[in-house]
């Protein structure tokens, strides 16, 4: 019989080691003041995200002008187009679309044609024009339409009355609304991620301050420490999201009549909410793993703040890249934002708001999981190679004179 020890179950599996770390961190953060601030954060975030959403809608409008479709007889249509051309030198007017022969003349079909960006349809006649489209849009455009119609008739003194027929929405409105959803959700994602990455960094700084990091590194692989820390904070954020979600759900229930006109993202609200959670988790895990690596490399707590500055700037650049990219789905820059791991969750969330296809999300999520694993592994390796260099600060001694003497 051997005198050696029993090696069976001599090591915690990685997931259990990570769980030990995550359980400790989760409990410690949940019952800390930091969590209260975390819960208050969304009040500010929602305001900022809402503002960003409005900017996104404006940006989407300027990217692709919403157009006015003409369903008039040929002569009147030609006269309207000519007048539009004359006046567009003097004032800003919507683009004009004239359905060609064989195309549908049905105003509702034109408004739902997602190949074009038609915001309203003009029908009737130049003397009695009728504007069909979403209420806010036709209200804004009726003055211009009356002006052009009067000019087309050659009677600029008598503006015709423009009859209005409102519809629920139009392709242009939907696009604009989807862009707003994309920008608002992307901003919310960025804010949450930034807050969480900051919290995970503080957590590691605390660990360095407590000098417990060496105990952890001796007992379990650093990968497990990093994974545990990342998932603890993720779990904390899900607690926060559950709380905020409950409050938001209650508010939405109370104001359900008012929100009937809220546009739907391209993949639908339930799937969009799910994708938001997934991309939030991925965005946080990706940037959090970088923050952890940065934090663990810093020799002192003070250095953590200095070293984390480039990571924060990187995060901002990613946000700007993704915000810029979502206004032009399918463009090279948008595809680059989708492929680059750190911007991928943001860019893909933007896609979820604007494009119905689901398979790109599966590919992107797989890619982001792989990138997270690589980042965590690289961070843990860096830590092992560069951090545990010596005993306490100041313990270094110059041994050259000693060896000379000894010799």
């Amino acid at each position: 019989m051997t005198d050696g020890p029993d090696f069976s179950h001599a090591r915690l599996p990685l997931w259990r080691a990570a769980f030990v770390i995550a359980r400790r961190d989760f409990g410690a953060v949940l019952f800390s003041k930091a969590f209260l601030f975390f819960l208050l954060g969304p009040i500010f975030f929602l305001a900022i995200s809402g503002g960003a959403g409005l900017l996104g809608a404006k940006a989407a409008e300027s990217q692709q002008n919403p157009a006015l479709a003409l369903v008039l007889d040929t002569a009147q249509s030609d006269a309207f187009v000519a007048a539009h051309r004359r006046l567009s030198n003097l004032t800003r007017l919507p683009d004009i679309v004239v359905p060609v022969a064989g195309e549908s003349n049905d105003p509702r079909a034109l408004l739902e044609d997602d190949k074009r960006n038609i915001a309203a349809v003009l029908t009737g006649s130049l003397a009695a024009p009728k504007l069909i489209g979403p209420e806010d849009r036709i209200e804004r455009w009726k003055g211009n339409v009356a002006l052009i119609a009067a000019s087309a008739r050659g009677d600029t003194l008598n503006y015709p009355d423009v009859a209005l027929e409102s519809t629920a929405t139009s392709v242009a409105n939907k696009r604009s609304a989807n862009a707003a959803i994309a920008t608002a959700s992307l901003t919310l994602l960025f804010m949450l991620t930034m807050l969480l990455a900051g919290m995970v960094l503080s957590n590691l700084v605390e660990e360095k301050g407590n000098k417990i990091i060496e105990v952890l590194a001796a007992a379990i692989p650093m990968d497990a420490v990093f994974v545990g820390k990342l998932f603890a904070m993720l779990a904390i954020s899900f607690v926060g999201i559950a709380l905020w979600g409950s409050v938001a759900g209650a508010l939405l229930f109370l104001g359900r009549d008012a929100i009937e006109s809220v546009p739907t993202p391209s993949v639908g609200w339930p799937l969009f909410a799910l994708l938001f959670l997934v991309y939030f988790a991925m965005a946080y895990l990706l940037i959090g793993s970088i923050f952890l690596a940065v934090g663990s490399l810093a020799p002192t707590v003070r250095d953590v703040q200095t070293i984390s500055m480039p990571a924060t700037i990187l995060q901002l650049l990613i946000f700007f890249l993704a915000t810029y990219a979502i206004t032009d789905t399918g463009s090279p820059i948008e595809i680059a934002a989708v492929i680059f791991p750190l911007s991928s969750p943001y860019a893909m969330l933007g896609r979820a708001a604007q494009e119905p296809a689901l398979w790109p999300h599966l590919v992107a999520i797989a890619w982001q999981i792989l990138a997270t694993a690589l980042f965590v592994r690289a961070g843990a390796n860096l830590f092992r190679k560069r951090v545990m260099k010596s005993g306490p600060q100041g313990a270094k001694r110059n041994w050259k004179p000693f060896w000379k003497k000894a010799a």
Partner: protein, 330 residues
């Protein structure tokens, strides 16, 4: 063909027995940004032994221990703990107290011990239960529900040590465990180490205080400047210096003085010299025949301190003293 690692380690470490090795290391090298921190360290620690790594601060003790534990990997060389080259794979068998002690300040004592046990695979609830038992056993039962931040430094250190032992490891690694403890707590820690060894646990600790190693250790590695000029039993280290003879005579002169060895020096009423290789009997005969008038004669075996000076050199011994003075000053 190379000999098996354990055999080479035994040869290089002057081991007197054939017990299973808890730790074996050969040719460990570690560089940090081009600086050689550890330079070819060989070690072998048999199971159940108390083993000391003795050297001044900055000599490479902590880096060596970190390599043995797998916290960092050596640039060159091989290390095995219970025959395993990846210490994390047998983390449950090891307990480690780092030199820089650290616990979460907001944790209660029993929670802290339970958490340290959980890191080594013990169920949290069981760890807390054992933690309370250990605290009780070491006179700290009253503090089980106190937060770490409410404890004195010595108490916190004890709690961390109990957390190191809570999962009943087979190997306990302590980095400068006596540092920062008062004399009473140092004595208690020495007893704890002896108790662990009596139960069959291997204990390896680093220290810059020779007295601790001398009182406790069966084997030592003397380390200075990243090198290990000696690793082996304490007895063998002491035997490297001949025993010192202390002779007191009534007469101060005479032909008998020709019989004294060449290294004899006078110190007050005494003559001090190394024990001759031929033993003390021929000298005694010459002293009696020369009527030196022997008042007293004692043969004193060299201490570990003398062995350290002999092996590592005067400079390393001075550095060791300096570290001790600094710690006492702190």
């Amino acid at each position: 063909m190379d000999k098996p690692l354990s055999e080479q380690a035994r040869l290089s470490n002057d081991l007197p027995d054939s017990r299973v090795l808890a730790i074996e290391a050969r040719g460990l090298v570690k560089r940090f940004e081009g600086t050689l921190a550890v330079d070819g360290v060989d070690l072998s620690v048999p199971e159940g032994a108390i083993y000391g790594i003795l050297g001044p601060n900055g000599a490479g003790k902590t880096t060596t221990l970190r390599m043995l534990l797998g916290i960092i990997d050596p640039d060159e060389g091989v290390r095995r703990v219970f025959g395993n080259e990846r210490p994390h794979d047998i983390a449950r068998l090891i307990g480690y107290l780092p030199e820089e002690r650290g616990l979460y300040p907001s944790m209660k004592c029993d929670e802290a011990i339970g958490f340290l046990g959980a890191l080594r695979g013990l169920a949290l609830a069981e760890g807390k239960r054992r933690g309370r038992e250990l605290l009780e056993k070491h006179g700290l039962g009253y503090a089980a529900d106190r937060q770490i931040r409410q404890l004195s430094k010595g108490m916190a250190q004890t709690v961390q040590l109990l957390g190191t032992l809570v999962h009943k490891p087979r190997l306990v690694v302590l980095d400068e465990p006596f540092s920062g403890l008062d004399a009473i707590n140092q004595g208690k820690l020495e007893q704890m180490i002896r108790d662990l060894a009596a139960e069959g646990t291997t204990v390896i600790f680093s220290t810059h205080v020779i007295a601790h190693a001398e009182r406790l250790c069966e084997g030592v590695a003397i380390i200075a400047g990243g090198k290990v000029p000696y690793a082996g039993s304490v007895d063998t280290a002491r035997d490297r210096i001949p025993a010192q003879v202390r002779l007191e005579t009534r007469s101060r002169g005479g032909r008998w003085r020709d019989a004294l060895p060449a290294d004899t020096r006078a110190e007050g009423d005494y003559w001090l010299f190394s024990l001759p290789e031929s033993g003390v009997e021929p000298l005694l005969r010459a002293l009696i025949e020369g009527e030196a008038g022997i008042q007293s004669l004692s043969i004193e075996r060299a201490g570990l301190h003398d062995a350290f000076v002999h092996i590592a050199g005067e400079a390393a011994a001075l550095a060791l003293e300096e570290d001790k003075r600094m710690e006492n000053g702190q």
